[in-house]
């Protein structure tokens, strides 16, 4: 194999010239853009990653071969990752990805051509990397956005290279195949958009109107879902099916509450009452400590974090519904419970039911509560509409 010397990799600030002898042109030759990339992963690791990605996309495992074929044939799809009003939490999530790992994802499966936190070049050379990919792969690259976009005062609250975030996003998205908004800030405005939204922060869909935009909210995004969303795009050539908030159903189709391992305690009225009490240590339900799982759409309980090591409720803290638009205003105060409206009618008495007599008590309570079904619905509706900010 002809290995180019370092000079072919060295670009001064004038890299925009696409001279015919630049490495990328030459080595790609006449091969189509979908030519198999050189891979560093072993076949075994690769197939393992594909099967896990297939599972993460909530597809039957028989799709694994299709995923593997797509990933080995699609070449490395260029990705431009833009950071605006962000905290790098989603970037850190990316670095915690396990199957595939960050290195496999970035070096073997996609081509992460622009990512300010990771990339080697700086300044004008970094800008050149973005512009080159936009030109060379027009219509074929993915844009990932992290952080909200400030619109107030002409966009002066976030500039990169002297350009506003709004301008950079519009320019970069214009040639993209699709845009993925990672984290709640990019998806819905997130924390910067929390009241009183000092900088006029918005999510990607408020700026990009003419491209498919997938939202992967979460504070931060779970790397499992990011990898799965990218794999879905590479496999099927389109973004996965999404709900009306643009969130893929494979990851956001169910309530945290409905898949919570502590759900049984909720249903039988066993609640943590104080931090560190017997119920807390035994893993009882955190609803009364402020858990917002009943209004959070996410696969957090199923996939967990850090290769499934744990998740917030598993570590004893309430869910804050971080995947929901406006959660900074609607989930707060975080430690205030959402009231009796969400509770099963059988457990309305604040006291936990004794386990053995639970069935009996439930039967009695159901009769008592039967007449109040309409009232219950009203209560639930009210709790859902006005869950927050009593103290602020």
């Amino acid at each position: 194999m002809d290995i180019p010397g370092p000079e072919t990799l060295t670009h001064g600030p004038n890299v925009l010239s696409h001279s015919p002898n630049t490495l990328s042109r030459r080595s790609r030759g006449n091969s189509p853009p979908g030519a198999p990339p050189a891979r560093g992963m072993t076949r075994r690791d690769f197939l393992r990653a594909c099967s896990l990605l297939t599972a993460a996309m909530a597809l039957p495992l028989r799709y694994t071969r299709r995923v593997a074929e797509a990933l080995s044939q699609s070449g490395r799809t260029p990705v431009i990752w833009l950071e605006f009003q962000d905290c790098a939490g989603d970037t850190e999530s990316l670095l915690r990805a396990s199957h595939p790992s960050a290195a496999e994802l970035v070096l073997d499966l996609i081509s992460l051509d622009y990512h300010e936190t990771i990339m080697a070049p700086a300044g004008k050379n970094a800008e050149a990397s973005r512009l080159q990919t936009m030109e060379k792969y027009r219509g074929r690259y993915l844009v990932v956005v992290e952080g909200s976009i400030p619109t107030a005062e002409g966009g002066i609250y976030c500039t990169v290279g002297g350009k506003t975030a709004v301008e950079i996003l519009k320019e970069t998205a214009s040639g993209a195949a699709a845009v993925i908004a990672v984290g709640t800030c990019a998806a819905f405005g997130g924390l910067p958009a929390a009241a009183p939204n000092p900088t006029g922060a918005v999510g990607v869909r408020d700026i990009v109107k003419d491209k498919p935009v997938l939202n992967l909210p979460g504070c931060s995004v779970n790397a499992v879902n990011l990898a799965a969303a990218i794999a879905h795009f590479l496999t099927f050539g389109e973004l996965p099916a999404a709900d009306d908030l643009g969130r893929p159903l494979f990851a956001y189709g169910h309530l945290v509450h409905d898949n919570c391992p502590r759900r049984g305690y909720f249903d039988t009225g066993r609640f943590v009452e104080e931090w560190g009490d017997d119920g807390h240590r035994a893993g009882w339900c955190l609803y009364k400590m402020g858990c917002k799982g009943p209004r959070a759409h996410h696969n957090c309980p199923q996939v967990g974090w850090n290769e499934g090591t744990s998740w917030p409720v598993g570590a004893g803290h309430p869910c804050i519904a971080c995947t929901e638009p406006g959660f900074w205003d609607t989930s707060t105060p975080f430690y205030r419970w959402m009231g009796e409206g969400f509770l099963p009618a059988t457990t309305r008495s604040a006291r936990p039911l004794p386990y053995l007599s639970a069935g009996l008590a439930a039967a009695g309570a159901a009769v008592a509560a039967g007449a109040g079904t309409a009232a219950l619905k009203r209560q639930r509706k009210k709790a859902a509409e006005t869950p927050a900010r009593e103290g602020s």
Partner: protein
């Protein structure tokens, strides 16, 4: 005199712009500008102080727990709440794992490419690279087979024509000095560190539910229950896993990070004379090894060093912290203010985007200029190591002296870009060595029957005084972090965070004196001003975190900013 602009500065967190005047091949004046603003303190006003840590944690998530801890400490200080010893131990463990993971990631993934030329690795002999690896470390990963496979992988990557994040860098720059084999070894460890950090930080998932963005802090303690007999709590199995992760953490630091650091440093000894800066160092103190939280037991003692004078460590007094906005995009008040008193309004007076240059004469940054007794300070690993060294902390002294001896350098070499980068490695080992002690404390407490993870008292807002003010510190991996809070009628009245990168990346103040990075850049030699690699070295040695650095306090009303756009 030529003007040079680097924007974006990459391989940092957040949005940083450096403008520099160049004369005779050197930086004569440097200007550091933060170009992103969110307004955390405005958003916090009126909210439940017990929620504040979840908000402030989102200031930055590269070191993902520091603002959470500073915030709960500030609110606890205001309300007179003392977390139980078990909670203190858990917080210490989270902090210690954060240091180790974060510093390793900084060295390999944010800083190494300033010293390592990946393209030179393609010329390396893998066998010789393995031999070099074995000569500096017993780490088993440096096998000839592994390095051969890596070289082939790199060759294939380059041949693919898609260089991804490695395209367009300053490869081949004359300031790169490592031999090909050292470059190949470094790339090997760059990838190994990427896998290692993912494993080691599972300690945070065990202790905090997840990383990034741990979710078990509480005002008054921790939400992670501890019970050896319950799998829903921190039990024996999870503690055993923490021990195993602590072992892996220490092993990598001892066998990979520090040997690499010293080996790379030996090729760049002239950088012990570049990038010194203000020479004032500030440390709030961290890791109370006594579970009562007693500051006297800090593994990193608090203190101030002035004018590079290691013979004297001055006590730290939070009342001497002020912030100045003379050169920042805020309305001028009545001079520098203490964070509890700060009254500032954003007022953008820079050029209308898109712009080529910021006016260096006037205001030029969203960062304010924090000062201590009116002086610019450097914070971070070098400050902590110097204060510990000058305070006579035995283990730190041993490690510093050993590193200086290895490099044949005097203590004065520490006041430099190289010294800053070395101090980070030294404190990483120091902290990695403390983790087993913290785990011993945890097991002893559990064995003694301690289960209390939360103070209980003070959780109910109806028990709070009508007005309270508090101050919480945290030595973040990047340096001294302080949160100031004023609580009135159960709500946040005023919130202010003065963060490490605001100290380090500060713009000039009313008297025109530069911040730490600006001062450190002055005099930096540039082999090729078109490729300012040398500037990146010094900027990265501070490990800037710009998302942290920009904030504002207490606007009057909701119309946030007055914008006066030039041109």
């Amino acid at each position: 005199m030529a003007k040079l602009v680097i924007d974006p500065v990459t391989r940092i967190e957040g949005h940083l712009r450096i403008e520099a005047q160049i004369a005779d091949g050197r930086v004569s004046e440097a200007y550091s500008s933060g170009t992103m603003f969110r307004g955390f303190e405005i958003i916090l006003k009126g909210r439940d102080p017990r929620d504040a840590w979840i908000f402030t944690q989102r200031i930055c998530n590269v070191c993902t727990m520091v603002h959470a801890l500073a915030s709960v400490r500030a609110v606890e200080d205001a309300l007179g709440i003392k977390p139980p010893p078990l909670a203190q131990i858990l917080r210490n463990l989270i902090t210690a794992f954060q240091y180790v993971q974060d510093h390793v990631v900084h060295f390999y993934h944010l800083h190494a490419l300033d010293w390592v030329d990946i393209t030179q690795a393609l010329k390396a002999d893998p066998g010789a690279a393995a031999a070099l690896g074995r000569s500096i470390s017993e780490w088993p990963g440096n096998s000839p087979a592994a390095l051969k496979a890596l070289k082939e992988k790199l060759q294939a990557f380059v041949a693919s024509g898609q260089l991804g994040p490695f395209a367009n860098a300053y490869w081949g720059h004359p300031a790169y000095r490592l031999p090909p084999e050292a470059n190949l070894l470094a790339v090997h460890h760059y990838l190994a560190a990427l896998d290692w950090q993912r494993e080691v930080i599972k300690a945070h998932a065990i202790l905090g539910g997840k990383n990034p963005l741990l979710q078990t802090f509480l005002v008054g303690g921790m939400a992670l229950p501890v019970d050896p007999n319950s799998s829903a709590s921190l039990d024996a199995e999870k503690i055993a896993l923490l021990r195993s992760l602590a072992g892996r953490a220490k092993e990598f630091v001892e066998q990979v990070y520090l040997p690499d650091l010293l080996a790379v440093a030996s090729f760049y000894k002239d950088w012990a004379g570049i990038g010194g800066g203000v020479g004032n160092y500030l440390v709030y103190g961290e890791l109370p090894m006594d579970p009562s939280g007693d500051p006297k037991s800090y593994a990193f003692p608090a203190g101030v060093i002035k004018g590079k004078d290691l013979s004297r460590v001055h006590p730290f007094d939070q009342k001497k912290v002020t912030e100045d906005v003379a050169r920042s995009w805020y309305e001028d008040g009545e001079g520098p203010r203490h964070p509890w008193e700060g009254e500032t309004r954003p007022r953008y007076t820079g050029p209308r985007p898109p712009y080529e240059e910021l006016a260096a004469e006037g205001k030029y940054s969203w960062l304010k200029a924090p000062r201590y007794e009116g002086e610019a300070m450097e914070v971070g690993p070098l400050a902590r190591v110097l204060v510990a060294y000058a305070s006579g902390v035995k283990r730190v002294k041993e490690l510093v002296d050993a590193a200086l001896a290895r490099l044949g350098a005097p203590p004065a070499a520490l006041f430099s870009t190289l010294g800053r980068t070395a101090a980070r490695g030294i404190e990483t080992l120091y902290v990695a060595e403390l983790i087993p002690t913290l785990l011993d404390q945890l097991t002893q407490a559990v064995k003694a029957g301690e289960r209390k993870i939360h103070a209980g008292k003070g959780w109910d807002p109806s028990t709070w005084p009508k007005e309270a003010r508090g101050f919480g510190t945290m030595e973040a991996p990047r340096g001294a972090l302080g949160h100031w809070v004023v609580i009135r009628e159960q709500k946040i009245e005023r919130y202010q965070a003065v963060v490490p990168s605001t100290w380090n990346l500060s713009p000039r103040d009313a008297r025109g004196r530069p911040g730490a990075v600006e001062a450190a850049l002055a005099g930096t030699p540039l082999a090729d001003p078109g490729k300012p690699l040398e500037i990146l070295r010094t900027v990265h040695s501070f490990d800037p975190c710009m998302a942290c650095a920009v904030h504002v306090t207490d606007p009057r009303g909701q119309t946030l900013a007055v914008v006066e756009v030039q041109g």
